[in-house]
Symmetry: C2
Subunit: 705 residues, 2 copies
């Protein structure tokens, strides 16, 4: 490793450490905000305990998975242990990378929850003294998570690269780190998603629908579980998901940069990746600093300014770096293409979920004819909404490829160079991930704050303020979601390429030169692969359903058996912990069928059709996964905002038939957008992991190939 590269990697480590310091400063800032209300402190403590109980249980389940995964990785990766000339050290590094990938992601989640469960109380109380202070408490709480996620991913990857550079020279260990992140994300995102919707649906069903008590009423035994759910699903789960995407995109780019660099005898590509991600993190820090609002300002505007500022900073800073460090402008172009397409996807996605636009209003209007029309129009717009994002992903991949292809022309490495471009587009899209996570974690914090304000009896004014903050979170989410979905799309395309490199490497020859769609084995894999995201999300939703039924039963029991609960008698408190326990146990239990299915079907396809079928399988899986996750996320957001639009007094307002229909839409949309939709991304990476792990075995044993 030459000096320039070393300096750049160390600088990246420095930026990562800087982000930790920044996160710590934000944490201290949040912590020193005033908190006096005893009731809020009590409930806040219950939420914190519930969240920690879930995390602990999750870690325990994870341990088994991590153990099995580590053993498999140790035996099979980078090549099976029994392969000729295989070095034990490479296996040790790979396995360690996998374990650290899990630990870093889990730690970021833990930090996020720790801050979020403090920030929710501070935000609620700050709302008493005005929206701008309250906003800052919520946003900075979220930003701690944002900095922790990005900082730890850069820190881990940079250190690992140093180990590789000086010790093994085997860059595929980076994929091991990424696999660790994916493994954890499966538990955190899908498990957390089941948890949060179980609690949400049950609380609403018994509370709002059956008994007619308001949201977040402290009499409701599921109300704490609901608030815990926001934290474990939307903070820890979302963080794990984006940690996974971020690490995967950087790892894929680095693996290709290293491969390309070693063939061309230069390290500039590798350096570019580090410079770009470090500048992305720096831009995010600045974005976070400048996201604030005036006393009567608009929280949506404040969040958007932060996001666009980060985007602009990234483009400018990387251009400056590219100029002074004499990097390839084509690569810069590819990542700016990614960034721009991210913005476009975000804006078009916003169109389908923004209550100022036609879709939300049409769905609200259709609700006047009853819930069937809420669903039909929502499904229709949800299906329409996939088009801009899919086209955006397709075009950015194509443009980035074409832009970077010439870099390899002289040396016959056109395809590799082009694919590196695709990976850099993903890196560009995810450059603002620190800001995305900050915005996303802001959502559940202010949502929780609203609940605490209600339960702590802080009065209508405070609730209204937190409502405003909450609604801003929803609007901004649509834009940032565009980035994360687009980047996930580009990243999994890069992972498919990584799979091919892995297989060819593993066989020591070019086994796979192309996956021909006209080859029936590829087609076989493609059709089966396309079915997987649908089945996976169905299993998760059925899991939510089963778990919610258990919890509804428990809520009914409590209202029947605890005297004075229904009437709200002073001093009578429901047994919150029972509901928390049901959500916790159920979430991890119901996660199993979906997870096992995804793993099992990958193995079946591999042993039937070999690596050829697996290529088709991954492609089918990616394509239909993008389609279904976009559909579910967007229609869910659309229904949510439609309901809110009606509640704001349109189409009959609260209590009208349209409102009832809107609530039905929102209830359907909840597991769509918070459980199934966002978990598909994780499903795709897990399937890629399994495919890569077993590639060698598929080469030896398969029915056709």
């Amino acid at each position: 490793m030459d000096l320039k590269t070393l300096v750049i990697i160390l600088a990246t480590v420095f930026v990562a450490v800087l982000s930790f310091v920044f996160a710590f400063w934000l944490y201290l800032w949040v912590k020193k905000q005033p908190a006096k209300n005893k009731k809020i402190a009590h409930i806040g403590k219950l939420i914190k305990q519930g969240a920690n109980a879930f995390l602990k249980k999750e870690y325990m389940s994870l341990l088994k998975f991590a153990g099995a995964g580590a053993v498999l990785i140790f035996v099979f990766l980078p090549k099976p242990l029994w392969s000729e000339g295989e070095k034990l050290l490479n296996h040790v590094v790979m396995t360690a990378a996998f374990i650290f990938g899990m630990i870093f992601s889990a730690a970021a989640g833990k930090i996020g929850i720790m801050v979020a469960t403090i920030a929710n109380q501070k935000t609620a109380e700050a709302a008493k003294s005005g929206i701008s202070k309250s906003f800052l408490a919520g946003f900075r709480g979220g930003a701690v998570m944002g900095m922790a996620v990005v900082g730890s991913s850069l820190f881990g990857i940079a250190l690992l690269t140093l180990v590789i550079g000086y010790l093994t020279k085997d860059y595929s260990a980076l994929i091991g780190f990424s696999f660790g992140a994916s493994g954890w994300a499966l538990f955190a995102k899908a498990g957390g998603g089941i948890y949060t919707k179980t609690a949400d649906i049950s609380a609403d069903l018994v509370g709002k629908v059956e008994l007619g008590i308001p949201e977040d009423d402290p009499r409701n035994p599921a109300v704490i579980a609901d608030n815990v759910g926001d934290n474990v699903g939307d903070v820890a789960g979302m963080g794990a998901d984006l940690f996974d995407s971020n690490v995967a995109s950087i790892a894929a780019a680095l693996v290709m940069a290293a491969s390309l660099g070693s063939k061309l005898g230069e390290s500039a590509f590798l350096e570019m990746v580090f410079v770009y991600v470090a500048l992305g993190l720096l831009s995010s820090m600045l974005g976070v600093m400048f996201a604030r609002m005036g006393r009567d300002g608009n929280p949506t505007r404040a969040l958007n300014i932060g996001t666009y500022l980060t985007t602009g900073l990234f483009a400018v800073l990387t251009a400056v770096a590219t100029f002074f460090l004499e990097f390839e402008w084509r690569v810069w172009g590819a990542s700016v293409v990614g960034l721009l397409v991210g913005v476009i996807i975000g804006l078009t996605t916003d169109y389908f979920t923004n209550d100022l636009r036609k879709p939300v209003r049409m769905v609200a209007k259709a609700s006047k004819s009853g819930p069937a029309f809420t669903i039909l129009s929502g499904v229709s717009y949800g299906f329409l909404s996939v088009l801009p994002a899919m086209i955006g992903i397709a075009i950015s991949a194509l443009a980035a490829f074409m832009l970077c292809k010439p870099l390899g022309t002289a040396s016959g490495l056109e395809v590799e160079a082009g694919m590196f471009g695709v990976a850099m587009a993903a890196v560009g899209m995810l450059s603002i991930v620190g800001m995305i996570v900050s915005n996303d974690a802001y959502g559940p914090i202010v949502d929780n704050a609203r609940g605490l304000a209600e339960m702590g009896g802080l009065g209508e004014d405070v609730i209204e303020t937190t409502d405003k903050l909450d609604s801003a979170g929803n609007t901004v989410k649509a834009v940032t979601k565009g980035f994360s979905i687009g980047a996930a799309g580009l990243t999994v395309i890069s992972l498919l390429f990584a799979f091919v490199i892995e297989v060819n490497d593993s066989a020591g020859a070019i086994i796979i030169q192309h996956f021909d769609i006209m080859n029936p084995i590829v087609f076989f894999g493609m059709i089966v692969g396309a079915a997987v995201p649908a089945v996976f999300s169905a299993l998760l939703m059925l899991g939510v359903d089963r778990n919610a039924q258990r919890m509804v039963e428990e809520i009914h029991r409590q209202f029947e058996e605890i005297p004075g609960l229904k009437e709200g008698k002073e001093g009578v408190e429901p047994e919150y912990d029972k509901c928390i326990m049901i959500a916790t146990t159920g979430a991890l239990r119901e996660l199993l069928p979906a997870g096992l299915f995804a793993i099992a079907i990958t193995l079946v396809v591999g042993f039937v059709g070999g690596v050829t079928a697996i290529g088709g399988f991954l492609a089918g899986n990616i394509v239909s996964g993008l389609l279904i996750s976009l559909f579910m996320s967007n229609s869910g957001g659309l229904w949510d905002n439609s309901k809110k639009y009606i509640e704001a007094g349109n189409c009959g307002g609260k209590g009208s038939e349209a409102h009832k229909a809107g609530v039905v839409g929102d209830t359907v949309g909840d597991p769509f957008k918070d459980t199934a939709g966002p978990s598909i991304n994780t499903q795709i990476t897990v399937v890629s992991l399994v495919a890569t792990l077993f590639a060698e075995l598929f080469l030896i044993i398969s029915l056709f190939s």
Copy 2:
């Protein structure tokens, strides 16, 4: 063409003519059934007029499309007119084939409607004298359509093959015939689908929901339009769809058989296709003859016996023919694989829509918690239901390919031989298409009969009998639907291959050897192609929505402005024709955006990424099209039967909260299963048509390629 081939083709023509004779006999039988009730005759006439009015309008719209299509085909196919050595005669035959493909399909639809609008009255009246006679009237009415569809497709194809064999030797003209069928199917299936659901939803919304009057109440201005819709959507539309699938599968098999045969210097492959399809039609005729029930028998059983008898007969007769005519057993194996997988897909699909099974009952149970849970559980099971069918299609394609591959080994034509196997699996699956169409047309006939019995005041007993017949139709539909979806899947795979042949032929060289998934241009096409079915179905559903709103307005107007209508005053009749007009005009208008979108996006992808992108585009389109159409068809059927299960007295029965939720599910499911889901198949073939037509231009002009 040698004598044996000629005899076999002439024998096929003979079987086709035989089926016409049989259809005519069935028609006469239905016609001579007694009909005395004046009111029924009056309403029956209104339905007939409405259906014919729609058909006429549809034909007019079609004419423009057909004209444009014919000109394009004349200029571009088989190769562009300006190509060297291009013979004008080939263009004339191709264009004529296209036009006849449309005419034959449209004629079969017209015949089907003619009989269905008589059979519905006969079935209603026959129900007075018992279920077995009534069943026979309904079923034989449907069988006329079944025989007309299959007979005319065989007749057309056989004659065209003779023309080709003696005149041009250019078998690609068969694809022209298939394109004609697809073009018509787009109008008939998607347009009819919008029509039928517009009327159904509006009638229910105002009638059942707002006013609380029963289904099929003659006071409802939309009631005739609703019954017309059953005919134009479920009889003519469904017939056009299956005509299209059947013709496409036979044409694809013949093109490959001819290409393979000419290279191997033998005509046995071509002969096999004709022998098999002729025997399939013969088996269907026998199946129709034997589908009858005892006085107290079970209509479901009667229909199933017919289907399984046909299946068995086909397997046995083709085995006998293969033995005596010394055909290849491997090809027989491929078509029996298709047949068996068809049965398996049918049975597993049945699991998800049968009210004796878990999914329907779970959805009914979930309905007790409100409509959101009806939808959530229905969507979940709908997503799950795609798995067996997708795996079935994937496995049958792979197995048929592997089975027939060795036939080409000696001559280096392995891929061609394997692909011929895939086409023959589709032919095998569709061998019982005569029976499928008969069963499918039986559905709307008995549904209409139920309406006529209600409107004609034939009493509760008769309505109950027709209800039983109706429910049998729904159950059996699930099984036959498995065949048609599976076959469509296999056929479009064959069409993809046909596209490649066409491109290579057109360029006079092997331009496309493989569509590599790792090629970003292919991937670009694949992602965009996958989005198309979602957008297409969304546009259709939004069309239904808009059109239904217009009709609801009209119904409201009539109830307000026509004195005595709401009260059911003697002699007061609503203005049925106004509603019929709205449905008719709207259906064809709302069809436009979806159709234009599918065509435009194909052109855009082609001009951006050339034929390479189009290959990926078609693959993505097929895979996601299968996924979405299976999901929509199955979840729609599931909700329908769930509602019926509740209405049968379960989970609270009629009028309960569960029932209301079930009705919501059914309303959502209606356009899923009757408009969007089944139209996707047509969308895929239309896109293939456009891609093939413009392939030559894409070769010349494209941004990347």
